[in-house]
Amino acid sequence: MAGRRTKMDIINDMLGSIQDKGGKIKPTHLMYKANLSHKLLNGYLDELVNKEMIGKIEGKAGNQYIIIKDKGHEFLAHFRKMREFQDTFGL
């Protein structure tokens, strides 16, 4: 069984989910994809918006979307390299 997710794992899951959806996702979809509660999701969204990793935009029908920004892409690339390093060295 996989261990408990760290904060970085959760952020990676969130940003990865947005990226997989072409860089834009609805908050509800993100909640399910990242396997988070509504309260936790909002906490993380605020933090990631403050860190300029994601942004919030409004769609044509007035729906809110979450988009991934350059810093978010950088985080994902950095995180994947770190994971590869940990896996390669067996950590």
Partner: protein, 227 residues
Amino acid sequence: MIQIRFSPQWFFGYDAAIDIISIIVVGLIAWYAFKIFKFSDRKKDKYFALSWLSIALAFLAKIAMNLVIYYPKANEVAYAGVNVVVQYTGQSRMLYVFGFAFYRFLFLMGLLGIYYLVTKEQNRYNILMTILLAIMIILFSGSQYFVFHLFAAIILAGTVYNYLWHYRKNKNVVRQNVGWGFAGLLASQVLFVLTAVHDVFYVAGQVVQLVGFLFLSFTFYTIVFKK
């Protein structure tokens, strides 16, 4: 009288250059592991970084001690043989004894740290027992040089086995390369033990050690710097 110089005279300086390259490779791995720790806040990453840092410091200590041996102050040294057997007295002897003990301690602690992290050993008594064994070898062994390299080889054999066994299961080529890098270090330790037979084994050990670290640096490069 203790034999403390194992390198042939023509190799002086080259071995220091190899050790400096080793420090750079080991230092880079320690730096990146520490960067990961700052990011992940995982103890494993911290200990991994500290293990590599310990090895880097060990090489630094070794270079410093080799400088003392290769360029001794004439008034503190009484030569008992030509080039090979040197009797150190006074401050030089103290520096030699503590300097090399420090080098061996740091090197073995680094190797043990990596071994325990890779094998995911969590039994604190086992870990403490091997650390104490390493300290006893460093302090009380009659032929410290050979026992030290043998002990290092045994730890490295465990590490290599773990990496290559993992490759058999998962076919992760990059991880296999790490295994080959450690295999190079293992072979170098065995060659250092054979220095008792001929000093050419010291040269061979240093060269093989360099190959081992180059393998590790190549793996590090492919993960961290290659897009």
